[in-house]
Symmetry: D3
Subunit: 73 residues, 6 copies
Amino acid sequence: MPLVQIKGISGFLSVAQKQEIIRKVTDAVVSVEGEGLRSVCWVIIEDVPSGEWGVGGNPVTTAALRIMSQAAS
Amino acid sequence: MPLVQIKGISGFLSVAQKQEIIRKVTDAVVSVEGEGLRSVCWVIIEDVPSGEWGVGGNPVTTAALRIMSQAAS
Amino acid sequence: MPLVQIKGISGFLSVAQKQEIIRKVTDAVVSVEGEGLRSVCWVIIEDVPSGEWGVGGNPVTTAALRIMSQAAS
Amino acid sequence: MPLVQIKGISGFLSVAQKQEIIRKVTDAVVSVEGEGLRSVCWVIIEDVPSGEWGVGGNPVTTAALRIMSQAAS
Amino acid sequence: MPLVQIKGISGFLSVAQKQEIIRKVTDAVVSVEGEGLRSVCWVIIEDVPSGEWGVGGNPVTTAALRIMSQAAS
Amino acid sequence: MPLVQIKGISGFLSVAQKQEIIRKVTDAVVSVEGEGLRSVCWVIIEDVPSGEWGVGGNPVTTAALRIMSQAAS
């Protein structure tokens, strides 16, 4: 209320990184919606198994995502 | 690939505020996952009508949310 | 922190019926999970337009749903 | 039609409790929408790992949820 | 069972096109899962308003999507 | 843009079958929306544990689904 549901590929993020995303995304949302909504800001992280997420019809793996994440933007 | 789906209550945020959330949440996620994933970071904003989101069994309205958002945290 | 997301077809339920569902579903969930979780039980109702929900490849309309709901079970 | 998707924290509910929720939530929804819709009432239960669900930016664990559920409402 | 939930940007597809997607996606899924599951294959189409879907932090509009869809692949 | 999220029951489909669904559903969607959108067509497959998906209040198992899928349509 806000409710944030985030999906990524399994094995890419550590639990510590997921919790860093929870903190930073909450801060981002509350900076726009108002601090009074912080306690009702929920952020849920869900993993999809490597190879079960398709882009353009091709399955993406954790290994491919890791290479992509390290490329220059 | 991260995929971020955000739900809130209709009439609370302007389109400009939603787009500010899109930018800030993308920055937050990419700061953890790597700049190389920015182009495949999707953020979707969806509205639920006022009165059709229940907390503890009670429907929350846009008006109630506005008062709550302005309270000190 | 149970989160309940309910989808139905637009125009089938009134707002009062949606709020009755919010109350009854919250009671049902809390009766299993414990009263202590009532305040963090969220129930969100979302509508899909008539004709944009397919069953077996065929779109279902609000009118068809209304007839079906009144049939003997 | 109705479609009910419920998320909770992994390790909190037993399979028997999840199936009790499936029964009771179906009864709750059908009591409002009509018995004729019982056969097309779907209830899906999904678990989010302990520590990967944030409230107010802080991750919630199964252990914390257990304590909370036993508190007086 | 299978349950297919499809999101797109509002104003891009006509209702007839959405129903064509419902038919074709059902056929695609059932060709793999078995014809016996056709009657329990649900496909739900949901629209997100133009400008409220971000890619790489930038909101995508219906107009931009239309240009993109007509480009050679 | 389009975003397709598919849920099924765990243990029913092999990874190869899931990837066949990803390919065929992408083809189906792009045949309607335009080839230019192929690269931004995402298909995500998610599994729900056997017994945690209710139809009409009764949990469905992988074994039951397998029998059903082989029945004549």
